[in-house]
């Protein structure tokens, strides 16, 4: 990959469920699809398991963007974990937006085990979107602020 030094390389974490999206990402691999290296995947049993605090922690640790992905509605391995997650994200997203946190940096998506190509697209789109938004300095500044205070 030809990278220029000027180009901003966003750091992105993906929170995915084991049964659909993780497997979909595996399929992207076995299909040898190519996508950007910026996204690192954390495997959860189910989207229902993804604690909203972990998303905040990712931002705190310097993530510029986040992907949250699981099984399509009605396809959940545990029948309804994704439905619960969907409600949680609806509420969480509204609250974050109200507090001025940039929800454009969190991409929610459903990727099934058969959608390797969709996964590759999602990664590339997210990287491009976050790259366009630039580093999440706003958040990082209060994170480092706190580090500074902690050091005192």
């Amino acid at each position: 990959m030809s990278e220029t030094n000027q180009e901003f390389e966003p750091r992105i974490v993906a929170f995915v469920c084991n049964w659909c999206t993780y497997a979909g990402a595996d399929l992207a691999g076995t299909s040898r699809l190519k996508y950007a290296t910026n996204v690192k995947i954390v495997r959860f049993p189910c989207t229902g398991r993804i604690d909203f605090m972990l998303l905040l922690k990712a931002f705190e640790e310097g993530a510029d963007g986040i992907i949250v992905s699981g099984c399509h509605p009605n396809d959940c391995h545990y029948t309804s974990g994704n439905f619960h997650a969907r409600r949680r994200w609806t509420v969480f997203r509204g609250l974050l937006d109200f507090m001025g946190i940039d929800v454009r940096r969190i991409h929610f998506t459903w990727v099934s085990a058969a959608e390797g190509a969709k996964w590759a697209d999602i990664v590339n789109e997210t990287v491009a979107d976050i790259r366009a938004l630039g580093p999440y300095d706003e958040y990082k500044s209060i994170a480092s602020n706190f580090e500074k205070e902690a050091a005192k």
């Binding site: 439905f83 409600r87 609806t90 509420v91 609250l95 001025g100 706003e138 706190f146 902690a150």
Partner: protein, 265 residues
Amino acid sequence: MSKLSEKAAALLSEGTVGLVIGYEQGTHGTRPKFCRKAEDAATLILNDKCLNNIGGYLTKPELIGSGKVAVTATLAVMRTVVQLTAEHQLTDGNVIVLALDGDEVLQMASIDEIKKWLAAHPEDLSDENKALLSKLKALSREERWNFWINEMNKCIKCYACRASCPLCYCNRCIVEVNCPQWIKPWAAPLSNMEWQINRVMHMAGRCVGCGACDRACPVHIPLRLLTISMAGDIKEAFGVASGTGNIDGNVLSSFKPDDKENFIH
């Protein structure tokens, strides 16, 4: 003696309840009053100055013991009783609610009765809150961020918001969990904000809208706006009113297959 005081005194002297929690006039506004004897009830009042949510005391066994309790109730207190019962923190029938219907004192002993009363008396947002909310929502995202970061900067992590909230009854709050340390314990904008996000998310579908958190805040962060805004989102997205004691599950522990998902691609 007011009719309210008479009723409360009667409940105590009959032995129906061992404790009546209510309000009395204090030096600076109203204050909670715990009546254990009939004569204690003489000073009880109940009016729109009674803003503290005394429903919160109901989950404190050290205060109320194990017997029946009566509580003089504003609508917010009634919502608290209903919600706490749905969350198995109160036993239906163990709490007697005394409310005012004009001059008359209503005595409600069952959750169904209280729910009926609440359904007949919906409480809308105050004009002031509405105005504040729409003002904030009209801001750009960056402006909202700056607004809240500025507010969060003031926070001294005293947890008065938590202490005053009738629905913050956990034995161990998430801020006291250190494995992992979800939220850094010291006061700093980030951890303050994380604390508030946690507190508010934990109120999803449960907040009774009493505004106690907001009034308790010593640095005057408009905390109520967070829960009000969220309750609005929930109502819009799922058609569920917050703090109504839905026994079929909390808004986040239930779902409909066709819940809207316009943000998921």
